[in-house]
Symmetry: C2
Subunit: 343 residues, 2 copies
C-alpha cells in the first residue's frame, strides 16, 4: 500500500523546502531562484526580477465582501510589492484568470477596472495572460517582471549584525480589517436586513481589501541614496517575515514592543475584538509594508522620514530573535504566519 | 437594474479583445504586449519573452486519467511552447499551485517530478512560485521567461504574401487521444471491472497527456539559418491558429488537404470514432506543433527536413483563407478553436 503524508504535516514552508530541494539552477542568467520575494535574472546590464502570486476564491478572498475592482487591484498590488521588496521597479505583468459561468462580462470588466487602476498607479504594462473557464471559484494568478540595477538589488540574506531594523507604515490593520469583515458577514447571514457597519472601520477594511504596494518608499529611498542591506515585504506577518530575513542572513534580531507601529483604529479594534494588539502587529499578515535593514551610517539619512519606523537591530544569530516588551521582558519571537493548509 | 451579459456571448477571443481594449503599453521596454504567444521585453542587448498559462482541473485536465507526473510535465511544456513560437529559448519558469486537502505530499512530489523532468528536458530553471491551498480543484499556473536576439524574434503579424506555410510533426493526435481517454473513462464508469485499453492508442494518448514543446525545431532552424517570417504554436487548432497569423499579418492563405500531416493512428482512430480526419487535423487543438511561414528562398534550406511539412502558401487578404480539398474544391476555413466558455 502506498503511504500517504498529509500536506499540513509539512506546512506551507515545509512543502516549499521539499519542492525546492528537488531543483537546482543551471542557467547562467539565473542569479537567484526560489529563496526570495522575486527571482533575479541577469540581462547583461541590469537584473530582471520575476515574481508570481495566485489568489483563489474561498482561500484568499471572499466575494461576499470583496468588491471585484478591489480584487483586481489587489492581485496586481501584491505582486508589485514583491518587486518593491527587491528594491526594484515593476514594469510588466501578466494575468491568468479562471471564471465560472456565474461571472458576467460586467463582472470581468469590474475586475479589469481594478487591474487597470493598479497598472496605472504602479506604471506597469499588462502584457499577457490566459483567460479560461473555471469549474469552481474565481482564480487570479499574476506574474510581474521588474527591473533593478545590479548595484541596487536587495535580497533577504544580506542583513548584517548591528544593522537597524526598519518597517514602513503601520502593521496589523489588514488583519483587523479582515476580522471586521468576517464579523459583518456573519451578522448579515444571521440578519439579512442588517446594513453593514463598515464606515467606522474604513481604513483597516481598506488595508485588507485594497493594499497598496509601497513603491513610494522605494522611490524615496533611491532619492535619499539609501540601499537597504536586506528587505522583505510583510505578507505573512512581521514575526514570520523577520524570521525569514534572520534565518537566510544567519543573524538574530531584537525588536522593541514600544517601537512597533500600530495605528489607533487597529489598536482600538483589536481591543474591542479581545485580540492582543501586539499579536496582531506581529502575526497579522497581508499588510504589504516593507521590512528592511539599513547600515547604522545610513540612519541619519532617513531618521526624519515620517513613514519609516526603527523597531530594533540585528544581532548575532546565537542571541536569537527576540521582542523586548514594554515591561522590559525579553521574549523569543514565534512565527505564526499564514498556514493555508491548516485550515 | 444592472445589465448582465453572459461571457459565452463574447467567447474567449471576444473577451480577450474586450480586456485588451482597456489597456495600452507605456513602458519603453514593452515591445509587444498581449497580441502574441509571448510578450516581448527589451533588455538592452536582447529581448526577453514572457508568457503564462493556467491549467484548471475539470477544464484542462481530468485527474481520473491524467497522471500527476504528466500534468506537471505538460504545465511546463505548454509554456515552453509559447517561447518556441517566438523563436526564443526558454530560461526560467515560475509555478503557482493550488492544492486541496485531497492531495497528499506524495501527490505533490509526483507533480513536481513531472515539472522537474520538463525543466531538465527544456533546460529551464524553476525560479519561483506560490504554493497555496485550494477549496476546490487542482490549479497550476506557470509563467515562463525566455530569451531571443532582436534579429531572430518571430511574431505572428509578419507573414508576407507568397511565403510558404509550414507545420511540424502531425496534427489531430492530441484531440483523438482525448476522445480515447474520454471513452475509456465512460466505459470504466459503466463497468468498473473493465481494464482500460490504452496500449493500442499509446501514441495519441501520449500526445494528449504529455505534449512535447518543439524546441528541437527551434534549434534546428537556427542551425539551418532559417528565420521564419511568422510563427505560432498549434494550441487552439490549425484552423484557428492559421487565422490568427492571417488576421494579424493582414494576409490570406491557401492550404492543401493532401499536404496536411496526420499520422496513421490518428487517422484510423478518427475513422473509428466517426470523426472526419480533416476536421480533426484542422480543429483538434493541443498538438503544440509549430505553424510558421518562410520566405520562398529559404525553402531549399529545409525542404528535406523529415518533420517539417509544407502545407500551402500565403496569399492576398482579399483572397481569403482557404482549404483546397483532395477533390480540388476550394472551401473557406472556419476556426472552431477551443471555446471553454461554451461548455
Amino acid at each position: 500500500m502506498e503511504s500517504r503524508t498529509e500536506i499540513n504535516k509539512l506546512g506551507e514552508f515545509g512543502l516549499i523546502d521539499r519542492i525546492k530541494s528537488g531543483f537546482s539552477n543551471k542557467q547562467p542568467s539565473t542569479i537567484l531562484g526560489i529563496d526570495d520575494d522575486a527571482a533575479i535574472i541577469d540581462t547583461g546590464n541590469n537584473y530582471h526580477l520575476l515574481s508570481t502570486d495566485m489568489l483563489l476564491e474561498g482561500v484568499h478572498f471572499d466575494l461576499s465582501y470583496m468588491p471585484l475592482q478591489h480584487l483586481g487591484y489587489k492581485a496586481i498590488s501584491v505582486n508589485v510589492s514583491d518587486i518593491a521588496a527587491m528594491n526594484g521597479i515593476p514594469k510588466q505583468v501578466t494575468v491568468c484568470i479562471g471564471l465560472s459561468n456565474r461571472f458576467s462580462v460586467e463582472a470581468v470588466d469590474a475586475i479589469y477596472d481594478g487591474i487597470r487602476k493598479a497598472c496605472e498607479s504602479f506604471k506597469v504594462d499588462l502584457v499577457g495572460g490566459d483567460t479560461t473557464s473555471s469549474r469552481s471559484g474565481l482564480v487570479l494568478s499574476v506574474s510581474v517582471l521588474g527591473e533593478v540595477t545590479k548595484k541596487e538589488v536587495v535580497k533577504r540574506n544580506t542583513a548584517k549584525v548591528k544593522d537597524i531594523i526598519c518597517v514602513t507604515g503601520d502593521l496589523g490593520g489588514a488583519y483587523m480589517g479582515l476580522q471586521v469583515l468576517e464579523r459583518e458577514k456573519q451578522e448579515f447571514q444571521e440578519n439579512p436586513e442588517m446594513q453593514p457597519q463598515l464606515e467606522a472601520y474604513s481604513t483597516i477594511v481598506g488595508r485588507q481589501l485594497k493594499p497598496v504596494a509601497r513603491m513610494d518608499i522605494i522611490y524615496e529611498l533611491a532619492d535619499l541614496k539609501v540601499i537597504p542591506t536586506s528587505m522583505i515585504d510583510v505578507s505573512d506577518g512581521l514575526a514570520s517575515d523577520l524570521m525569514h530575513i534572520c534565518s537566510q542572513s544567519e543573524v538574530g534580531a531584537v525588536i522593541y514592543e514600544d517601537k512597533l507601529p500600530i495605528d489607533q483604529m487597529t489598536y482600538q479594534t483589536s481591543v474591542d475584538f479581545k485580540i492582543d494588539p501586539v499579536t496582531c502587529v506581529l502575526n497579522g499578515g497581508e499588510d504589504y509594508e516593507l521590512l528592511f535593514t539599513i547600515r547604522q551610517k545610513d540612519f541619519e539619512l532617513i531618521k526624519n522620514h515620517p513613514d519609516i519606523h526603527f523597531i530594533g537591530y540585528v544581532q548575532e544569530k546565537n542571541k536569537g530573535i527576540n521582542l523586548v516588551t514594554k515591561s522590559e521582558n525579553v521574549v523569543a519571537i514565534q512565527a505564526q504566519g499564514w498556514n493555508h493548509f491548516k485550515k
